[in-house]
Amino acid sequence: MYNKKAVLAGVVAFIILMTAPFWLNAGREHKKLELEKPQFEKECVEPIKWMRAGHMQLLDNWRNEAVRESKRDYTSEHFKAGHDNKKFKKSLTLTCLDCHKNKKKFCDKCHTYAGVKPYCWECHVAPEEKI
């Protein structure tokens, strides 16, 4: 092998760089996320499975419809047929936060975990947290 030192240094640097996520995770335990569940309400605006991936879209639509078109009533759409679709007020602070009282123990958990920075709180005042 020619230029042994330079080539080996390059290969080692390459491997360290490519396995960076392994090193960055080293020594940290893999924890499961625990969200604070609402005390009384058992059902969300839409089915929980749908909400997990779709809540941002829902909130975006609510924002547009409520603020720009002043349509403030919402009827569930994604429950299976035969389900008694409920009516809600389109409001982050009055509807969502009414059940999910603690932003830090609910919203922020997943958002921090997945590295998402939603811009809800650029207009809305975040609720005061008594921990």
């Binding site: 092998m1 020619y2 230029n3 042994k4 080539v7 390059g10 290969v11 390459f14 491997i15 490519m18 396995t19 996520p21 392994f22 960055l24 995770n25 940290r28 335990e29 893999h30 499961k32 996320l33 499975k49 997990r52 991936a53 779709g54 941002m56 879209q57 909130l59 975006d60 997943c110 921090t112 975990y113 997945a114 590295g115 998402v116 920075k117 811009y119």
Partner: protein, 342 residues
Amino acid sequence: MSMLVSLIAVFGLVAVSYMMELVGLHTVLGIIIPYTAVLVFLGGFTYRIIDWARSPVPFKIPTTCGQQESLSWIKHNKLESPSTTGQVMARMFLEVFFFRSLFRNTKTDATEGPRLLYTSDKFLWLGGIVFHWTFLVIVLRHFRLFVEPVPGFVHLLESVDGFIQLTLPTFYMTDMVIVLVVTYLFIRRVVIPQVKYISLAADFFPLLLILAIALTGILMRYILKVNIVGVKELVHGLFALSPVIPDNLGSTAYIFYIHLFLVSSLLVYFPFSKLMHMGGVFMSPTRNLPNDSRKHRHINPWNDPNIKPHSYEAYEDDFRKVMKSVGLPLEKDVDGEEEGEK
């Protein structure tokens, strides 16, 4: 034909992973294949580099396009004709990060006359550099799923990439750019006759595979929507060496497994393909050698050290009598007299 083969291959990969997901082989798709792919990628890459490093470079062959180092009053072009390791590294840096040699790309046209016309063509450079940088940004952005807690640079990248703040989840500019630029690189191979003529399946396949990876990613993020927390649990589990298969990915989990399978395919394909230019650029003697052959003698490493230099004088000593007998001119005559003009 090569295009069709590549297209079928990519669709085949999608179909295989989709069916494996349907059958429920989540452990294979989510743990075994990704780990195997990473091992093949690292092992194969290292093997190829070592293999190249074992090949001798018989001649000093840097490609230059500037004045080499010479007398003090002749201006030396340090970048175009580097003569020290430092200058070689500077040139290599610009090559790797800004594709400097590709910037000189020309295209050839036959015009009436007939006359050949060479003109500057920056589009391949532009397409190439936009593609590579976009790809890098996208890979780095994925660190939000690789590492817990999310590293700081990811937030910076995301806020720049999602600057437009359109749609939810936030629209990333790189998502659109990579689809456009890969499409351009593909169409270029199809539309320009000379380029199409030299394009093989090995050229179309990686482009289509990367396009498929980008499209499945975009589908997953904006349209089919999987539960991102589940995705992070799986991916972070892989990188934290405690793999798990979460059951909360949602009803569209298949798109995630297809995306992951295609990325694994790319990793496996990488060391055996032209994508090895990632390591190869550092190993090319036309780029990594200094142009200093007037200062240092480059010894061909495959020369046999037992074979000594053989001068003409020694050669004549060996064959003087025979040469004389057939009347060949000699430097020294048989009896030792100088042969001059008589």
